[in-house]
């Protein structure tokens, strides 16, 4: 049985396919249809809702997620808030609405209205999590995963600010959530929460040991965290996995530990849980993380999921490889640690054994003279998958490059180090020309494909140009970023 709080009402779900998303459950099982399906692939945000969870401080925190990517099983113990609960009642006047709703009405922020419930939920999360208007950059960051085809977004940007002009609304939800959790804790036994329907299972181990035992017993099982990839296979390829083991509630896998020398990030820790502290230490990675999916996706997505799926275009991998990160794999038989670049063996293939799970990723802290750059090229700035992603970390001494780690995504079947380009740089003079020269070796490292994102030719050309950019930025401090407009917000 899966139990969660939906708005004001506790739910106990048993008779439900483990493949079902919360979106589908809301719309077809209980017919609450305020939450809309725009794409069912996590790209449009029309199905955005709030997911509340209890943190170690005993407080409840609310964040946005795409309900089309949220499997019902993963809602266990959570507080789901849908648009229907934001303001209850019929025939309301603008003054009776929640400030974010009232602002959207008064700024003319809805036209066809189909994306609107999703925008309301993203605006609500922004409002709850910021006492004061946080500025347009934060608004864009919060709403980058919500697409609107009618308005051109201007009135929505205005509404985000205007919501703060009215009397501040106090939400009643954490008190409800605390009461729900108390009841849940009283009922709960030592069992693994699960959803079992005919032949298929969704299991939520509550400890690492439970997890490893389950994986040993179900070697065919899909390990699922935020399901930001798996839910798309279910909705698009109509995949019906028999067994899914969710690692989202395995405490050992969701920890983030920072020590003097490294970050240890649980494989199932969502991005939003660790990017803040990681980017404080490595500010050069901030843009990469800010542009990784959308806020909704980063609230569910994990490093374990990104690496485990071995996507050739997953953004974290090149950065992790450049930083010399390692990945830990564990089974009942033991633990092994690999360099991230050694984890991938082929297109969507890894060294992970059937009984193993990814438990953590360790990122060393920067050495004193490390210089780092991360570049992502896409068609659209927000929420787009990399055409080419490049991460380079070097050390230099006395104008000579002493070490270099250069990795790329979107250029091969796996995220991969550029060994020929690295070799050109190692021992070369620390000057712009060295990087341009190294870039000329790109085709010795990569033979990229032509696909819907770009041609082979473009990928090679852009890599050469990005190397030129790295040289200009590292050695001549020439600003080459287009994001002047974005930065000036």
């Amino acid at each position: 049985m899966i139990q969660f709080l939906l708005n004001e009402t506790p739910q106990a779900v048993e008779n439900c396919s483990p493949n079902m998303t919360v979106l589908e459950w809301l719309r077809t099982k209980i017919r609450q249809t305020g939450t809309k399906e725009g794409c069912a692939t996590g790209d449009c945000g029309a199905c955005t809702l709030l997911v509340g969870e209890e943190h170690s401080d005993g407080q409840w925190y609310y964040k946005t997620m795409n309900s089309c990517l949220l499997l019902v099983g993963n809602a266990h113990g959570k507080h789901i808030i849908t648009v229907e609960a934001v303001t209850r009642g019929m025939h309301l006047t603008p003054e009776e609405l929640h400030p974010v709703q009232r602002a959207m009405v008064e700024c003319h922020g809805s036209q066809c209205g189909f994306c609107t419930p999703g925008f309301i939920m993203s605006l609500l999360a922004l409002y709850i999590n910021h006492e004061q208007y946080p500025g347009q950059k934060a608004v864009i960051h919060a709403l980058g995963g919500n697409l609107c085809r009618c308005t051109g977004y201007s009135p929505i940007l205005k509404a985000a600010e205007k919501a703060y002009e009215y009397e501040r609304s106090q939400e009643p939800w954490s008190a409800m959530a605390k009461a729900f959790k108390q009841t849940l804790n009283q009922q709960s036994t030592s069992n693994t929460p699960s959803l079992i329907n005919g032949q298929s299972n969704f299991l939520l181990p509550q400890s690492l040991n439970q997890l490893l035992t389950l994986k040993a017993n179900h070697p065919e099982a899909h390990i699922v965290a935020g399901a930001t990839d798996l839910a798309i296979e279910i909705s698009q390829q109509l995949l019906s996995p028999k067994t899914m083991i969710s690692v989202t509630q395995t405490p050992e896998l969701t920890e983030v530990i920072e020590t003097g020398s490294q970050f240890t990030i649980g494989a199932a820790a969502p991005y939003e849980k660790f990017v803040g502290q990681l980017c404080e230490h490595y500010p050069e990675t901030a843009e990469l993380f800010e542009r990784l999916g959308s806020t909704q996706v980063r609230n569910g997505g994990t490093l374990g999921g990104s690496l485990g799926n071995a996507s050739p275009i997953g953004d974290p991998a090149p950065m992790l490889i450049a930083l010399g990160a390692s990945i830990e794999l564990q089974s009942l038989e033991g633990t092994r640690t690999l360099n991230v670049e050694d984890f991938f063996v082929g297109y969507r293939e890894t060294v992970l054994a059937e009984n193993e799970v990814i438990t953590k990723v360790t990122i060393p802290k920067r050495s004193a003279n490390l210089t780092l750059a991360c570049h992502k090229v896409t068609k659209r700035f927000e929420d787009d998958i990399s055409t080419v992603c490049l991460a380079i970390a070097i050390e230099h001494k006395n104008h000579v490059i002493t070490s270099v780690r250069l990795a790329m995504g979107g250029m091969a079947a796996v995220p991969k180090r550029a060994s020929q380009m690295e070799q050109q740089l190692r021992g070369a003079k620390f000057e712009a020309q060295s990087f341009t020269t190294a870039g000329e070796y790109v085709s010795q490292d990569f033979q990229p494909l032509t696909d819907v994102r770009a041609s082979e030719d473009y990928r090679l050309k852009v890599t050469r140009n990005l190397m030129q950019r790295v040289g200009l930025e590292f050695c001549q401090q020439i600003p080459t970023s287009l994001r002047i407009a974005h930065a000036s917000l």
Partner: protein, 790 residues
């Protein structure tokens, strides 16, 4: 037929007085806004399903061109929950649902003409089962090589409709005799509508063999007609209802009908309600898009850049069938002049047949693809003679004496020079242009560009009979009003504007006017809500209906209270007459008790328009809407990435009925157009399959793409024609304001060679295409310096 030149009580309804009215010109909120933000504005899939409702899903062809040799349904039929699989032979009536010309086949049983073409229809007890079963059907085919490239279609003269041309004077001789001439070409990408609510229809059989259809459509009447035809029934057996769409943009003008027809066929055979909703990826694959075009031109001009003759050829990728392509390519031809006078012109248009889904209406309806060609021409002329593009644009504007279009309609309203000068001054064009030139000289990687482009867009359906509308106004005996008209609400605020018009007519609050779902049994024989005509047509029809009732009420009051009709005023929810006043609700009740009819239909047909297509001469447009935009962009010459940092827009909506809604249309259209020209990249594989079939690979603008500085103003002028309250249509015209973004990117590219060479830039200007243009500029630089040193 009345055109409301004059309103007897309140002076000129269509004139200046309207602007001071309480109801007209007010930024009333969208009638559904509060429901939308609360999640209780229902779309078709949100309504409770009828009991025993089944779900249908199409089975799709695995190839783009060929013949079906065998179909095996056994695996699909074996799936629990599958009820029936229908094929072409189960269609009781017509199988061809081409809206104007034949060619759109509901289910094919033999020839496959595009990838994923529907072949069969699976019906099951759930949406999920229907989708799964559809994929289990095995289709074997003899595959032939599809035609995907337009240049192949042109070479083979492979048309869906015959070529057509416009001619005025002798363009060939004019170009020959001109001091200068240029030639050029442009590939223009298509565009997926990406309405947030995908295609959906629900069909419910009636007790008498008829069908009740709910469908997300801009054209309920056409759905009614087509469902009747496929079921082999009279039109009156079918009723179509449409409350609101979650976006449409032209993508639900004809593209909503197949799903309603298929659901109706299943409902007809199975005797129960059947719903059909396309998953997003299939919506991408199965519905038509904005036509990609390939255009070429040859233009002669004088030393000042003034055009003397233009020969332009526009070629539309129509897909496998005509659909609306004849009219769409016509509109591209009508807009190949944009705002510029061609003393001699030949405009040719080809409707090319390719093995893709049949391309269809999309905001602008071919206009944008014609207009952008004119803008490329003036930019190229400016570079050729070393002038600022803005000066070349101004020099070529239509003006008195130089005012006849290539289709022989006279341009009568000349406001663009004033509008351009207003933007030039307010947005400091010259100063910024100089600053940008200085910036570019010292910035090796990032280049800035600035461009101003104007828009003139013809308003009216070019198919003349569509320029008519009907409405129904019922006043209940408490004074509350039930308003219905033939237009459809897709987010544009049509219902809000029409309610404002009716509220104005009776002098009551807009909240007293209830708008209701569009239904074919309330207002018959309607036109699609398209061509930006929604308010012009339906607003006038509703005003007509309201005025008919109002006339009755005036006569009644005059008689009942024995007062002079001229003393009667409808205002502030009261009706005042000589010596007294009565609450509007009380008046309604009194009129009812005195047996006065409080219900009326209203009708409107657009005056003045006529067009002889044989001769390619006439007045296809009642009037023109105008706009000017100035965009500033930055491009990254290492990656080709680009961004719009500022946009300034001045747009002409005549007397605005609702400024907030009009500005919403302008901003939304500009951003949608910007997407068309920059990030929205439709790609088909060589085998004819759509490669960019979802939002993961097809990128519409996101919130961060909105220019950091975005200024939109309405131009202060009324429509010289007697449109409803002298307003102007606003849905499509501002879409083309986005052309300034593309022109500004070209301006940034031209800076690489100090504005002596402007590379061609096909659209969308993705990073890859911009980088190619950068390479082109650098190549020119190398050649030019080599020539110089030689």
């Amino acid at each position: 037929m009345r055109h409301f030149e004059i309103d007897r009580e309140q002076g000129s309804v269509t004139g200046k007085n309207a602007r001071t009215s309480t109801y007209i010109g007010k930024s009333t909120i969208h009638e559904s806004a509060i429901k939308q933000v609360c999640g209780n504005a229902n779309y078709i899939d949100d309504n409770a399903e009828p009991s025993n409702c089944l779900h249908a899903y199409p089975v799709l062809a695995p190839i783009a061109s060929g013949v079906i040799t065998n179909i095996d349904e056994s695996k699909a039929l074996a799936l629990p929950g599958v009820k029936r699989i229908f094929s072409a032979k189960d269609v009781p009536g017509k199988i061809d649902i081409g809206p104007i010309f034949p060619g759109d086949i509901l289910l094919t049983d033999k020839e496959i003409q595009y990838h994923h073409q529907p072949v069969l229809l699976v019906v099951a007890d759930s949406y999920e089962t229907a989708r799964k079963a559809a994929r289990l059907v095995e289709i074997q085919c003899d595959e032939s090589k599809p035609v995907i490239d337009i240049e192949d279609a042109i070479a083979q003269k492979n048309w869906v409709r015959p070529p057509h041309s416009l001619q005025r004077g002798d363009a060939h001789t004019a170009i020959e005799n001109a001091p200068h001439s240029i030639q050029g070409a442009l590939h223009i990408g298509g565009q997926e509508h990406f309405y947030l609510e995908g295609q959906i229809a629900l069909a419910q059989p009636n007790e008498d063999g008829g069908m009740f259809i709910q469908c997300s459509t801009q054209h309920p009447t056409e759905v009614q007609h087509l469902v009747a035809k496929v079921l082999n029934q009279a039109y009156n057996f079918v009723t179509v209802e449409m409350r609101r769409m979650g976006g449409a943009f032209g993508g639900k003008e004809t593209q909503g009908a197949p799903w309603a027809c298929l659901a109706a066929i299943a409902a007809y055979h199975l005797g129960c309600a059947v719903k059909l909703r396309l998953a997003r990826a299939d919506d991408f694959r199965l519905t038509g898009k904005r036509h990609p075009f390939f255009n070429q031109y040859h233009v002669g001009f004088d030393n000042n850049g003034v055009i003397e003759g233009a020969h332009i050829e526009v070629n539309g990728y129509c897909g496998y069938s005509p659909d609306l392509s004849d009219a769409i390519v016509d509109r591209a031809m009508f807009h190949a002049d944009n705002v510029y006078y061609y003393p001699a012109a030949k405009i040719e248009g080809n409707r090319c047949k390719v093995n893709t889904v049949s391309h269809t209406a999309f905001r602008g309806f071919g206009g944008p693809q014609g207009l952008i060609t004119a803008e490329q021409i003036v930019d190229d002329i400016a570079i050729a003679i070393g002038k600022d593009p803005l000066d070349v644009r101004k020099a070529n504007l239509y003006k008195l004496g130089r005012d006849t279009t290539p289709y022989h309609q006279k341009v009568e309203q000349h406001v663009l020079l004033e509008m351009m000068e207003q933007v030039e001054e307010n947005a400091q064009y010259r100063k910024r242009k100089a600053a940008i030139k200085a910036f570019n000289q010292q910035s090796p990687v990032i280049k800035k560009g600035l461009a101003m482009t104007p828009v003139k867009f013809g308003i009216s359906f070019t198919v003349q009979h569509l320029n008519q509308a009907g409405a129904l106004v019922n006043i209940y005996s408490d004074g509350s009003i039930h308003l219905n008209h033939g237009g459809t609400e897709m987010g544009q605020g049509l219902n809000t504007k029409v309610a404002q018009i009716v509220a104005h007519a009776f002098g009551i609050d807009v909240e007293c006017v209830g708008v209701t779902a569009t239904r074919t049994d309330k207002v018959p024989n309607t036109s699609p809500t398209a061509a930006s005509s929604g308010t012009d047509l339906n607003g006038m029809a509703a005003l007509n209906a309201a005025n008919i009732i109002k006339d009755r009420l005036i006569s009644f009051i005059a008689e009942h209270f024995n007062v002079d009709a001229s003393s009667i005023q409808f205002t502030n929810n009261q009706v005042q007459y000589d010596g007294g006043q009565i609450d509007f609700g009380d008046l309604a009740n009194l009129a009812y008790l005195n047996r006065i009819s409080l219900s009326s239909t209203g009708y409107y047909a657009t005056p003045k328009i006529h067009y002889d297509r044989e001769k390619a001469q006439g007045r296809p447009f009642f009037y023109f809407a105008h706009g000017v935009s100035l965009s500033e962009v930055e491009i990254d010459t290492l990656t080709g990435e680009n961004t719009v940092v500022r946009a300034d827009i001045l747009h002409d909506v005549g007397n605005s009925i609702n400024p907030a809604l009009d500005i919403g249309q302008i901003e939304g259209a500009f951003i949608q157009g910007m997407g068309w020209l920059t990030t929205e990249d439709l790609q088909w594989k060589e085998n004819g399959e759509l490669a960019s079939f979802g939002p993961a690979t097809y990128k519409i603008p996101a919130i961060g793409d909105t220019p950091a500085e975005f200024n939109v103003e309405l131009f202060d002028s009324e429509n010289p024609e007697a449109s409803v309250f002298r307003s102007k249509a606003v849905g499509e015209p501002p879409f083309m304001l986005s052309v300034s973004v593309w022109s500004a990117i070209r301006d940034a590219l031209a800076s690489i060679n100090d504005y002596r060479y402007m590379p061609a830039l096909d659209t969308p200007a993705t990073p890859e295409r911009v980088l190619l243009a950068v390479e082109d500029a650098l190549q020119w630089q190398r050649q030019n310096s080599a020539e110089k040193s030689a």
